[in-house]
């Protein structure tokens, strides 16, 4: 047994049901070299930079050997464990295939539709029955129907068992992504990797009849290297499942971000036909998410921004006691006005400084009726030292946990003076243990490649507002409940907040 295989076996033993994240083999049923999903899946499983460490079995009764590719006529011909079984079939054909499975099966993903999404709840129920009672003698997780598989990338196990995205830039990390929409798994991974955000695991749960978002979240939260779980759902049928996810996350000191689609009449109707999901009224979902410390955002893009922001904030989001206020400093008058508007639209208020902070800030900018937000652009242009003092005054005010700076003068490459300004923010943050956010008013100013250690970077005002809101929620939840000891993320070397809820 190789060291990697040994690590995978240890992970299976440790994680129980979540052992399907470390399967001993992969079996693709209904594989065809010339059909999209199978070919893409095999390509992803066998890429050099994210190669599945065990055997990959290809099953297709109608295909003979082709080049180096050997096909088995049925799953029964597989010597050894089937491991994670991908069933690239739909409706009754998929159900018949699953019913015949036996042996060492870690999990099954059914890719095709034709179940609840097509009004065939009976087929979906039979799949659920097989998941609970089958010839293996133990429950087997069944993802889907309409799943597109599972991705796992950690030190002990790499496999991109999903169709779609090329994992050529695959990056492991502390983020998990769970989605009812399979295509969004690929989109999320590609977007995350292109931004340098590491993703440790991703689940495409499709109709989620046998393996719910709560099952996927439990599996992800059980993994030591995962600290942020992002979920895109098309509905929540049982509020108690959401409560369970929140409780487990809080117990393990991890953060859960949630986006629920189908809020509009059109979206709701489409969600029902897409995955057969009957959604609970959105304000009930929002209330329970809030009750159990799950941070809700609007869409998948905001999930990614939130996860990235938490990773960039790192340890600082944990430290610093009970403060969770946001201070907004601008280096551009227009930028700071628009940033303040954007924050308000997203529910982030900007409290005025404490009396002590007010004295320190007024000493730099003079007496002004409003000291948060403040435009320090004029100071920055002429008096860099004054800007440094201003930034430090906000960071040192105990009311503020987050100090955001709107930087509108072109990055990169910043002029030497601008480098000084950003250094001032980074320095103030490092001194005080607060969270610093550098917001560019337009995405194209950042040119995609810049970053500064210790600062949260936001490419655009909306991204800035969402990152700040998510970070404030993490800080607020921790401040309300009393912060648990930070949990170190193995891959990222960072820790995130314990998302204590309104209280358990």
């Amino acid at each position: 047994m190789t060291a990697q295989a040994s690590a995978a076996a240890a992970a299976r033993a440790r994680n129980g049901r979540a052992g399907f994240l470390s399967p001993p083999a992969e079996t693709i049923i209904g594989f065809s070299e010339d059909s999209g999903p199978g070919a893409s899946l095999l390509r992803n499983l066998t890429r050099d930079d994210c190669r599945f460490p065990g055997p990959v079995h290809l099953v297709n009764p109608r295909r003979a050997a082709s080049g180096d590719t050997r096909f088995l006529r049925s799953a029964a011909e597989v010597a050894g464990p089937l491991g994670f079984v991908h069933v690239l079939l739909a409706g009754e054909a998929a159900l018949q295939t699953v019913r015949q499975l036996t042996g060492d099966i870690s999990a099954v993903a059914v890719y095709g539709g034709g179940f609840g999404d097509a009004g065939r709840d009976d087929l979906e129920q039979e799949l659920a029955n097989w998941s609970a009672h089958n010839a293996t003698g133990r429950p087997v997780p069944v993802l889907g129907p309409q799943s597109m598989g599972v991705y796992r990338n950690t030190a002990g196990m790499q496999f991109c068992g999903i169709t779609g995205p090329s994992p050529e830039r695959a990056k492991p990390g502390p983020v998990a992504f769970i989605s009812q929409s399979g295509a969004l798994v690929g989109a999320f991974l590609r977007a995350a990797w292109s931004r340098g955000v590491g993703v440790g695991c991703a689940f495409s749960i499709g109709n989620a009849r046998c393996f719910s978002f709560a099952d996927a979240a439990a599996a992800a939260l059980a993994e030591d290297d995962i600290s942020v779980v992002c979920m895109y759902l098309e509905g929540v049928s049982r509020l108690a499942d959401l409560a369970t996810v929140g409780k487990v996350a809080a117990r393990r000191g991890k953060v859960v971000l949630l986006a629920v689609g189908g809020e509009s009449a059109g979206g709701r109707s489409l969600a029902q036909s897409h995955t057969g999901t009957l959604a609970t009224e959105s304000r009930l979902v929002s209330g329970v998410a809030r009750q159990y410390g799950i941070i809700q955002v609007a869409n998948v893009e905001e999930l990614l921004w939130g996860a990235e922001g938490i990773g960039q904030a790192g340890q600082a989001i944990l430290a610093g006691g009970k403060a969770f206020g946001v201070a907004l400093i601008g280096l551009t008058g227009g930028g700071v006005i628009l940033a303040a508007d954007s924050l308000e639209r997203n529910g982030v208020s900007l409290p005025q400084p404490t009396a002590r902070g007010m004295r320190a800030i007024s000493a730099v900018v003079g007496n002004r009726p409003v000291l948060n937000p403040v435009d320090g652009g004029a100071l920055a242009l002429g008096l860099a030292d004054s800007h440094t003092a201003l930034t430090r005054a906000y960071a040192e005010d105990p009311r503020y946990k987050i100090v955001a700076c709107v930087a509108g003068m072109g990055l990169p490459p910043p002029t030497p003076n601008h480098v000084h300004l950003y250094d001032a923010l980074a320095d103030a943050i490092a001194r005080t243990g607060k969270v610093g956010v550098l917001v560019s008013p337009l995405p194209d100013l950042t040119n995609g490649a810049w970053g500064m250690d210790g600062l949260v970077i936001a490419r655009g005002l909306q991204e800035g507002a969402i990152k700040i809101r998510v970070l404030q929620d993490v800080a607020r939840l921790g401040a309300l409940a009393g912060r648990a000891a930070p949990r170190q993320s193995a891959d990222a070397g960072r820790s995130v907040a314990s998302p204590a809820s309104e209280g358990h």
């Binding site: 049928s237 049982r238 509020l239 108690a240 959401l242 409560a243 609970t280 304000r283 009930l284 929002s286 209330g287 329970v288 809030r290 009750q291 159990y292 309300l480 809820s501 309104e502 209280g503 358990h504």
Partner: protein
């Protein structure tokens, strides 16, 4: 007052089922028909009072409530007018001078899950309410209340009411009840938590 065909229970009958909740109930007299009008008016302990039409939805918008009634003659006139316009039953209730109005509700969903609702109440209920899954811990209740009410004594009364309501709904006698609305509830000038209107929906 008997259970209506739509499963709604209001007035004294509903209050009887909710009497153990830690909230004050205003003086209330139901008027089942025209023959009870004079007896009801003569029983009023203090003015001002409110006359309400029972059993209609959105009473405020339907002009089914008359406030600031300061004497017996006016009370009798309003009762007769409402009786002719809407029919019976009607109710006479003590008018409580009060501040902001809130709404507290409990609902059993078809999935078998219970949820509580709290927020600003009165005629625009629904726009500023939050939902929580039952059971709520004291901290859940506190965080929910804290969004609308900052005064400590008021918070504590509301938290006790929330916890008592969810506890009450676990009793066997609550079988068949699928929704309770306490809307509006408010604080009297003396700072006591008071229910101004309430409904129970039963299957």
């Amino acid at each position: 007052m008997p259970l209506r065909r739509d499963g709604t229970l209001t007035g004294a009958a509903a209050r009887e089922l909710l009497r153990e909740l830690p909230i004050c109930w205003p003086w209330l007299r139901e008027v089942a028909d025209q023959a009870e009008l004079r007896a009801a008016v003569s029983a009023i302990p203090a003015f001002p009072v409110v006359v309400k039409v029972e059993g209609i939805a959105h009473r405020q918008q339907a002009a089914g409530i008359w406030r600031d009634i300061g004497d017996e003659t006016t009370a009798l006139s309003v009762l007769e007018l409402f009786g002719r316009s809407y029919g019976y039953p009607l109710s006479l209730a003590e008018q409580i001078p009060h501040g902001p109005e809130f709404a507290l509700g409990w609902q059993r969903r078809q999935a078998g899950e219970d949820v509580l609702m709290f927020g600003y109440g009165g005629s625009d209920v629904g726009t500023q309410v939050q939902f929580r899954l039952v059971p709520l811990t004291r901290r859940h209740a506190s965080a929910l209340i804290d969004e609308c009410v900052q005064q400590r004594s008021a918070q504590n009364q509301l938290i006790s009411l929330v916890l008592a309501l969810q506890e009450r709904m676990h009793l066997p006698s609550s079988g068949g009840t699928c929704e309770i609305d306490l809307n509006p509830i408010t604080f009297s000038e003396a700072g006591q938590l008071v229910a101004l209107d309430w409904k129970i929906f039963r299957r």
